[in-house]
């Protein structure tokens, strides 16, 4: 703990996060940003929007907790599957003897407003990430890591719940990088696409966006599964933050500061 000579020797780690600290410094001294201001602000706006989208999305599903494949689906057609929950509409055959209150009005308003905010935030993050080098330095895996050896080491470390090495603590390890890239550049665009593919007005201008998905109900079902994948990511993400040291990670993402001696789980 007292011998933190060079917190940051890893070639991948960005200069901004790489300030050598004298070994004699008081251990609790804070150094320059672990996460840039833009990353922190967009992270928390996205978090807020995600919860708004999740809560309103669940409310919208409750009005018809049945899923279909193809163009159409309703109470008279066989569902692909249905959720074992009561509904907020009387006609839906749920098997429950009661009907939940209708929450779709504000849920739809909130869902679309949060979608707008998260799309603008995401674009800001992605575009600025390209220009500042954040994506290249912090998210693109190093060539050396993209090998079976790199993968097996990273997976083995995760399975042993091994804390981050000093270098990783200042940046992201291979699995983190790949996961974040997958979430940011695959799941988020896909959830936006499948959402827009449900809009009758949007698809009137861009019919291919729904046709290639197999129909409007397919888009709705895919939207549900992509959202589930995002929720799964959120759960693992929070779990990993706890394992890596909840206080220090929250502090890093809120204030940008990290103590020179890193908290261990």
């Amino acid at each position: 703990m007292s011998d933190v000579r060079a917190t940051c020797y890893h070639p991948r780690v960005g200069d901004s996060a790489c300030v050598p600290i004298a070994a004699s410094a008081v251990p609790t001294t804070t150094v320059t940003s672990r996460h840039s201001g833009l990353v922190r602000v967009t992270h928390w706006i996205t978090t807020l929007c995600f919860f708004a989208l999740l809560v309103s999305g669940v409310e919208i599903i409750i009005s018809h907790p049945r899923f279909y494949w193809g163009e159409t689906g309703n109470d008279l057609t066989a569902p692909l599957f249905k959720l074992p929950i009561p509904a907020s509409r009387r006609l839906v055959p749920t098997g429950y003897g009661y009907v939940l209150p209708d929450q779709n009005g504000w849920s739809r308003y909130l869902h679309f407003q949060a979608a707008w905010v998260v799309i603008v935030t995401g674009l800001l993050y992605a575009i600025s990430g390209l220009f500042t080098g954040h994506l290249r330095k912090n998210l693109l895996p190093g060539k050396a890591d993209l090998s079976w050896r790199g993968f097996s080491t990273a997976i083995a470390n995760h399975l042993r719940f091994k804390g981050p090495s000093e270098s990783e603590a200042w940046s992201y390890n291979l699995l983190q990088r790949l996961t974040y890239l997958f979430v940011i550049f695959f799941l988020f665009p896909l959830v936006i696409w499948t959402g827009l593919a449900m809009s009758p007005a949007f698809v009137s201008a861009f019919p291919a966006t729904v046709n290639v998905l197999g129909g409007q109900q397919s888009a709705r079902t895919l939207h549900f599964f992509v959202s589930l994948a995002l929720v799964l990511f959120l759960l693992v993400h929070v779990l990993m933050v706890c394992l890596a040291g909840f206080k220090s990670r929250m502090r890093a993402m809120i204030t940008g500061r990290v103590a020179t001696h890193l908290e261990r789980p």
Partner: protein, 272 residues
């Protein structure tokens, strides 16, 4: 500006936090100031342009006004003339799902007993020749058909063939005045009314619908007359249509939000 806050090691040793944060804060202050000034000026200009080109929905107030305005404005810019997807006859849902309707009023039962011969659609407001149409009169205009999807905001949907006369035809007959901006439409059901802008009112797929799947429009689907608006979800497709008013402002109708649905908490624009 690709390398933010590179700090010289010598300065770090003396005072790492101060030197880096001071360098950042000055730059941040300037850029934030410029961005904020540009943002305020830009928003003000954008609001004026949006209002001028009819990109602001009547329910733009309140906490969801921002998202609602962004949605409506971008839909109007991107989809003003686009046509709803049409399907093949083989894709028609059998049977089409009819959502719940309120128990019919005595007035409705009376008209139904007469085979809807006395049903009238009256049109007034900003029109040159206010008029009233029977179902037979509407049927005397060239009929149009569309095989389109009706989707409910709840999530379910069906495809049907709809037969009717485009609303634009009837608006031509009554002579809409140039300052008209909205068409407000009313059902025989109490407190059931909605409104659309002229882009939707004059859209070729906006129908006064009296037929469905080769038959009369069933009562369960809004017969004898329903407004069909395939680019917006179900609740804007008002059943049992009896009255249209053409107007340049929605302020004088109800709470000024443009329909019963917005007053109930649902968005006025329902193309999504």
């Amino acid at each position: 500006m690709s390398e933010p806050s590179r700090v010289e090691p010598s300065r770090v040793e003396s005072s790492p936090v101060q030197s880096s944060s001071r360098g950042l804060s000055r730059r941040k202050l300037i850029t934030t100031g410029i961005a904020a000034a540009a943002g305020v000026a830009g928003l003000g200009a954008a609001a004026r342009i949006a209002e001028k080109y009819g990109l602001v929905p009547p329910d733009h107030g309140g906490i969801y006004g921002l998202g609602e305005t962004l949605t409506y404005a971008s839909q109007r810019l991107l989809t003003r003339h686009s046509l709803a997807r049409e399907f093949s006859r083989s894709q028609i849902s059998k049977p089409p799902f009819a959502n719940e309707i309120e128990p019919p009023t005595d007035e409705f039962k009376h008209l139904q007993a007469g085979g809807f011969a006395d049903w009238r659609l009256s049109v007034n407001g900003m029109v040159a020749r206010p008029a009233s149409f029977s179902i037979d009169q509407l049927k005397s205009y060239p009929s149009h058909t569309q095989i389109t999807m009706l989707q409910c905001e709840e999530g379910w949907s069906y495809i049907a063939e709809w037969v009717g006369v485009p609303l634009s035809r009837v608006l031509d007959v009554v002579g809409v005045l140039p300052q008209a901006r909205y068409v407000v439409y009313f059902s025989i059901e109490p407190d059931t009314w909605e409104s659309i802008d002229m882009a939707d009112a004059l859209h070729p797929q906006t129908f006064l619908t009296y037929g469905m799947n080769g038959d009369e429009l069933p009562v369960g689907h809004g017969g004898p007359l329903r407004l069909r608006l395939p680019r917006q979800v179900g609740y804007k497709n008002v059943k049992f249509l009896t009255h249209l008013t053409v107007t340049d402002s929605l302020k004088g109708f109800g709470k000024g939000l443009g329909g019963a649905s917005p007053e109930f908490g649902y968005a006025w624009y329902a193309g999504i």
